[in-house]
């Protein structure tokens, strides 16, 4: 327990000490939130209705999808995991603790937004706070698992950027964050349904805001949860200690199995 606490405290502080992580955990998402709050709600007043969930998902993607994977890859490539292994730090801790601390940072940044968005920018508060909180937690955990998986399977930092952007950019464009899914062309919707952000936004709409949805919100929650569980399992299974002595139990392309729940969800609604 002392080891876990010490490790957790170190990783949490790293999220603030490391300039890149500080940027991804707080400065980038909160800066973007301020910008969107000042500009977007003027251009599109309807954005107020989706501002809270959209910003929570944005925070989760910035810190967990864009911020978390690179340090995992850099530490593995620099031989830091070897030092950990020799000193008895379990693989699970190496993967789980940075993920958990980044999740805590994401929750803190999200809380700042949730508390300030209504008074500052007139964001619409959810009808059901409990659902809002649970869906936010589920989405943050799922993005945490996806970020860990990307960190585990990426060969280098450039690859993490590629994989992360493969989820991040479509999420921003067709994931329901900036534009509601209901106004997207029908041909785009199957692609949107593959994105965790779209599933999370539909779950918010259905359960937290009692608003009409394009996808079934219950199925969206199931897809989101299954994606998170599968991503976490794959990240643990595919974890590798170092770059010179590959001991990975499966091929990195196995990570694509994480799409299975989303593909099944396509047929369910």
């Amino acid at each position: 327990m002392i080891a876990f606490r010490t490790h957790f405290a170190f990783e949490f502080k790293t999220g603030l000490r490391n300039a890149t992580l500080l940027m991804m955990n707080y400065l980038f998402p909160l800066g973007f939130y301020a910008l969107i709050g000042l500009i977007m709600v003027q251009i599109n007043p309807f954005f107020r209705e989706m501002m809270l969930p959209a910003m929570v998902i944005f925070v989760a993607m910035a810190s967990l999808l864009l911020g978390l994977p690179s340090p995992l890859v850099e530490q593995r490539e620099a031989g830091i995991f070897r030092t950990y292994k020799i000193n008895g730090v379990p693989a699970f801790s190496i993967l789980a603790i940075p993920t958990l601390t980044t999740i805590v940072h994401a929750i803190i940044a999200s809380t700042i937004i949730v508390v300030t968005a209504a008074p500052l920018f007139g964001a619409v508060r959810p009808a059901n706070w409990a659902s809002f909180g649970l869906i936010s937690l589920l989405a943050i955990l799922t993005f945490g698992a996806l970020g860990a998986l990307i960190g585990v399977v990426s060969a280098n930092s450039r690859a993490t950027v590629l994989w992360s952007q493969l989820i991040f950019l479509p999420s921003m464009l067709i994931g329901g964050l900036m534009v509601p899914l209901s106004v997207l062309p029908k041909a785009i919707l199957p692609f949107a349904a593959l994105l965790p952000s779209a599933r999370a936004m539909q779950a918010y709409a259905g359960f937290a805001y009692s608003a009409p949805t394009v996808f079934d919100p219950a199925i969206s929650i199931a897809v989101l949860a299954a994606t998170g569980v599968l991503a976490a399992g794959l990240a643990i299974y595919l974890f590798d200690w170092d770059r010179v002595n590959r001991t990975r139990r499966g091929h990195p392309l196995m990570a694509l199995l994480v799409l299975v729940p989303a593909v099944i969800g396509l047929f369910l609604g």
Partner: protein, 304 residues
């Protein structure tokens, strides 16, 4: 001799079809520093990494106090302290934090006394990334031995250190040995091996080509003693008269250098020659064969 703390028997390691280590055997005993010497690619680091449980051997047996490193990694952690050649810590980790971190995983209280001993106490809040290479190596050693392991593996522990730091680390290594630890020391530095190791093995292309104490190893070589003489008139440069026991002679910068099988009569003859030539002695050096020379003899022979 006491029971071996670290035993390597017929150890083999392959990388694909390439044989990195080919059936080597050695033992390190409690209270002993065992040096592993060899040129780059000889298999030293591979051997150490298998002992540390990082890699799996492809043949033979490795044993550290009865524990197989690849099968019982959890038990191994309490028995072995390791200072890696490569592989560091996160750049943001502070010195004091690193000590707390690793001691927590080893379930021992933080060893601030070791940080004090290695001159790291004033840097408790300094980040690892801000330390010099020498200080990083000192910290790595402090972390490696913080849990008082009975077996210690050091991979190039003093590479890149200044003279003062090397002396300090050597003193600490002697202390650990005298405290009963079995130390395996891989190094390129022959002077360090000669000074520190009780026994050494020379690895070449994955095989042990010589083993013994540094004194034994140097004795089994050509056995020639090097006598270097510098005089005012450089008369020895021109003198080609035979000198007793001299096998080889050459001129190196301002010195006449003689390789002798029996240095006593050779030195006496050199001094007598100088008197006869009315030349004045400036410097006379008699050096027994060093481990480095023996190493070069062996590795050059092996390379050919």
């Amino acid at each position: 001799m006491s029971q071996a703390a670290i035993a390597v028997r017929d150890f083999r390691k392959l990388y694909g079809a390439a044989v990195a280590v080919d059936g080597i055997s050695f033992e390190a005993h409690p209270g002993e520093i065992f040096g592993l010497l060899g040129p780059n690619g000889a298999g030293k680091t591979t051997t150490l990494e298998c002992l540390e449980g990082i890699r799996r051997p492809d043949g033979g047996a490795l044993d550290i106090f009865g524990v197989d490193p690849s099968r019982q990694p959890a038990r191994l952690r309490d028995l072995v302290g390791v200072q890696l050649q490569t592989g560091g810590l996160p750049g943001e980790m502070q010195v004091g934090e690193a000590m707390r971190f690793f001691c927590a995983y080893h379930r021992v209280p933080p060893r601030y006394d070791l940080l004090e001993r290695l001159g790291l106490q004033p840097m408790l809040r300094t980040r690892y990334g801000e330390l010099s290479t020498g200080l990083q190596r000192r910290l790595a050693l402090a972390l490696g031995i913080a849990h008082n392991p009975p077996a210690i593996i050091l991979d190039e522990p003093t590479a890149g250190l200044d003279v003062g730091s090397r002396t300090e680390l050597h003193a600490l290594m002697h202390e650990l040995r005298d405290g009963g630890a079995a130390i395996v020391l891989a190094t390129h530095d022959m002077a360090e091996a000669e000074k520190m190791a009780d026994r050494v093995a020379i690895l070449l292309r994955g095989r042990i080509v010589a083993t013994g104490s540094p004194r034994e190893l140097t004795a089994t070589g050509s056995g020639l003693t090097k006598i270097s003489v510098r005089t005012e008139g450089s008369s020895l440069f021109r003198n080609e008269a035979p000198l007793p026991a001299v096998q080889q002679r050459l001129i190196k910068e301002e010195y006449a250098v003689f390789y002798s099988t029996d240095p006593g009569p050779t030195v006496a003859a050199i001094l007598s020659t100088l008197n006869g030539q009315d030349d004045k002695l400036i410097d006379l050096r008699v050096e027994r064969p060093s481990l480095e020379e023996r190493f070069l003899e062996i590795t050059d022979g092996g390379a050919r």
